[in-house]
C-alpha cells in the first residue's frame, strides 16, 4: 500500500516537472519591466543640468503626462531615438523630463545644441543613483507617467516608431 503511494507521488512530481520544463521552453526570458509599471513614482529630488536647483516630484504637474527619458551624450542609441523625442515634444499634453545619466555637463549641452533639445526639464544624474528610483538598467530608457504620477509604461533601449505610436495612443486615452 505504502509503496504504491510513493509510486503515485514520484510519478506525478516528475510528470509535473517535465510539463513545466516544456512550458518553460517557450517562455520569454528577457528582463521584464512590469514590476515597476502601475506603481506610483517615489519622491525624488534631482539636480537641474544647468543650475543648482532641485526638480522634485511635486513639480510634476497634475494636468499633464510626463515622459522621463534617461540619456547620455556618450550613448549611441540615444542619438537614434532623439528624432522621436523631438516629435514627442510637439505633443501638448506631454512634458518630457530628460535625466542626463553619468555624463559631463559640457558634453551633454553640446549634444543638445547639435541635435536639438526635446526636454521641458533637463536634469542631471551624475552618479546614476537617482535613476535607480525608476528601475533603470542602463541608457537609454524612458518611463511614461500619467497625471496621477503613476508609471504606465516603461521602455528599455532606444524608443522606436512603434513605441512612439504606443505613447501617442496612451496620451489620447486620457
Amino acid at each position: 500500500m505504502k509503496i504504491s503511494f510513493l509510486k503515485i507521488i514520484s510519478i506525478s512530481l516528475v510528470a509535473f516537472a517535465i510539463i513545466v520544463f516544456f512550458l518553460a521552453l517557450n517562455v520569454d526570458k528577457r528582463y521584464s519591466t512590469e514590476k515597476i509599471v502601475g506603481k506610483s513614482v517615489d519622491n525624488f529630488e534631482i539636480l537641474f543640468l544647468n543650475n543648482d536647483e532641485m526638480f522634485k516630484k511635486q513639480d510634476l504637474t497634475n494636468d499633464k503626462y510626463h515622459l522621463i527619458n534617461i540619456w547620455a551624450s556618450w550613448c549611441l542609441p540615444c542619438k537614434k531615438e532623439h528624432p522621436i523625442l523631438m516629435n514627442l515634444k510637439k505633443e501638448n499634453n506631454l512634458k518630457i523630463v530628460g535625466i542626463n545619466f553619468k555624463d559631463k555637463k559640457l558634453n551633454a549641452n553640446n549634444f543638445l545644441r547639435e541635435l536639438g533639445n526635446p526636454y521641458d526639464f533637463s536634469l542631471s544624474d551624475k552618479d546614476g543613483t537617482k535613476s535607480i528610483l525608476f528601475g533603470v538598467y542602463g541608457v537609454p530608457e524612458s518611463i511614461l507617467i500619467d497625471n496621477n504620477h503613476k508609471i504606465i509604461s516603461k521602455f528599455i533601449g532606444p524608443l522606436n516608431f512603434k513605441d512612439y505610436e504606443d505613447i501617442l495612443q496612451l496620451l489620447n486615452e486620457k
Binding site: Y31, K35, I132
Partner: protein
Amino acid sequence: MKNKLIIIFFYLFFLELSAAEINNLESKIFKNLRCIVCQGQSIAESNSDFAQTIKIVVRDKINQGDNEKEIYEFLAEKYGEWIIYKPKFNYINSLLWFSPYIVLVFGGLLIFKYLKRRKQ
C-alpha cells in the same frame, strides 16, 4: 565528576562563541544582490557600471539608517524579486524553503523504519 567537567567545558565553550558576531552589513547586502546586467555575478563581484551605482545607493541607504530588509524591498520594488539572491519567504517561495527539509525528515523516517523492524 568527569562527566560534569566535560559538560562544564562545553558550556563555557559555547558561551564564549555566542558572543561573537560578524558585522559587515554592507558586503553581506552586496553579496545578496544580483548584478542584473551581468552574467550570474553578484553586485559584490561585478565591476560593471550598474554594480557601482547600486553600491552607492546601498551605502546611502545604510547611512540613512535603512535596515537590510528595507533596502531589499526598495530594490525589489524597482527591479523585481530577481535582484535578490536569497528569495524571501512567502507563499510562492514556501516550497523552495520547505521541500529540502521535507526530504530530510522523510529520509530519516524511512531509515528509521528499517531500523525499528528488528525490535518487533
